[in-house]
């Protein structure tokens, strides 16, 4: 028989998602479902975590297509117009010899969004299929995914700076393209997807398996 590690859930308690206070379910039944320390609503696991994450991932995947097809910015300089998609911007930087920046933008704008969608999808499915392997590795994967997601906003900020700065009527102007809205939507929706996923579910499976044995 394996000795089970005590979790808040196994102790009939839950920890506040905001301040971390450990509250017993008896207290919640007797008083309220709000944290006695910070007043946040208490729940053992994020409500409906897998379905919400999955729904947001599908939405993000849909926006991913226009985000990459439509142009995100147009530069008109001395009458010559250059229109860039996200990937086009990376290629242009690379062709200009700006390799470091090209790699940073490629990672943040191209790799990270698709990585996030795939990683979270893998996490949702592996929990759903009750996989018990590589628990710690999956925890680390989640932490990493949550950490890197925000960095995809680099391109949106870059565009906002260019359109504010480059507006010398006849000489040079930069305008934003519709791809930028779809791209920002991908970044924000995947951030919400990462927030909706509850990493505790990864470990809950191992306990269910142990209970069965």
């Amino acid at each position: 028989m394996t000795v089970l590690a005590p979790t808040a859930q196994s102790m009939n308690a839950m920890s506040c998602h905001i301040c971390g206070l450990l509250v017993s379910t008896d207290y919640i039944t007797a008083h309220s479902a709000h944290c006695p320390r910070c007043d946040a609503r208490l729940h053992s696991r994020k409500p409906n975590s897998l379905n919400r994450t999955l729904a947001l991932l599908i939405a993000a995947a849909i926006f991913y297509v226009p985000a990459n097809i439509y142009p995100v910015l147009t530069l008109v300089s001395f009458g010559k117009a250059t229109t860039n998609t996200i990937m086009g911007g990376v290629i242009e930087l690379a062709q200009g010899g700006q390799w470091t920046i090209a790699v940073i933008v490629f990672v943040a704008s191209v790799l990270v969004p698709i990585f996030k969608i795939v990683a979270l999808l893998f996490l949702v499915l592996s929990v759903r299929m009750k996989k018990t392997r590589a628990l710690r590795q999956r925890s680390v994967l989640y932490r990493f995914t949550e950490f890197v997601g925000r960095w995809s906003m680099i391109d949106i900020f870059m565009i906002s700076i260019l359109i504010a700065l480059v507006k010398l009527q006849s000489i040079a102007t930069v305008t934003a393209g519709p791809g930028a809205i779809a791209f920002a939507a991908v970044v924000i929706i995947t951030m919400f997807a990462a927030m909706a996923f509850d990493p505790r579910l990864i470990w809950d499976v191992s306990r269910e398996e142990d209970d069965r044995n």
């Binding site: 590690a5 391109d155 906002s160």
Partner: protein, 217 residues
């Protein structure tokens, strides 16, 4: 079985406890030991950060937050970058990115940039100061529960450090065909980000709750 049951009974008796902490990422329960200043506690199962201790955590965090607010104000007063081409020049301020999106009809993007580069970073600094400053003056801060919750929800949307990378990429793209120079606000903005990072790193959340208890006693 033995240890788990003993811990269980303790929590049951009190209703809630600060002597134990459940890992926010895998739910494993740990006791909270006395650790030295500067040390961290990680979950033994999944490795996530459980607690940190810093010497004078609240005072240091307050000092960094006030410094950050000072630099934030400076960062909004002067140009970030100046762009020169063919004898004409143009500068931009921090807020101009959001305004430019609005003017171009992309109000959603304007809103996102406004929140991520101005509203959220400013709110984070104001909340930190309005919680920590009264406590420093031995006064219990008002609405502290709401403020702490607000802070937690705001944190991911304050993207100043990412904005800096956006500025760098914009700078590199423009310097290909024009003269671009760095404004005073960019320096202030970088210093603000450094101060905010330090304010977060020195802040020990549990110290806030301990201090509040002292103040209420």
């Amino acid at each position: 079985m033995g240890e788990g049951a003993a811990i269980e009974n303790d929590v049951m008796a009190a209703g809630y406890t600060e002597a134990l902490v459940a890992c926010p990422e895998c739910d494993l329960v740990h006791s909270v030991p006395e650790i030295e200043d500067g040390e961290q506690g990680h979950c033994i199962r999944c490795g996530s950060l459980l607690y940190v201790r810093h010497r004078n955590s609240l005072d240091r965090s307050l000092a960094f937050a006030i410094t950050g607010l000072f630099f934030f104000i400076l960062a909004n007063m002067f140009p970030l970058l100046t762009f020169e081409l063919d004898g004409q020049s143009q500068s931009n301020r921090l807020i101009d990115g959001a305004i430019a999106f609005m003017d171009a009809g992309y109000w959603e993007l304007g809103l996102v940039v406004f929140v991520a580069s101005i509203v959220a970073p400013l709110m984070v600094l104001i909340v930190l100061i309005s919680v920590l400053l009264p406590m420093r003056l031995n006064i219990a801060p008002t609405n502290v529960k709401v403020q702490i919750r607000l802070l937690t929800h705001l944190k991911p949307w304050a993207m100043s450090e990412i904005f800096i990378l956006g500025i760098i990429v914009a700078f590199v793209k423009l310097s290909d065909f024009a003269d671009v120079s760095v404004g005073l606000s960019l320096v202030a903005f970088v210093l603000m980000v450094a101060a905010v990072v330090m304010a977060y790193m020195t802040l020990d959340d549990s110290a806030i709750w301990r201090r509040l208890k002292e103040l209420k006693a």
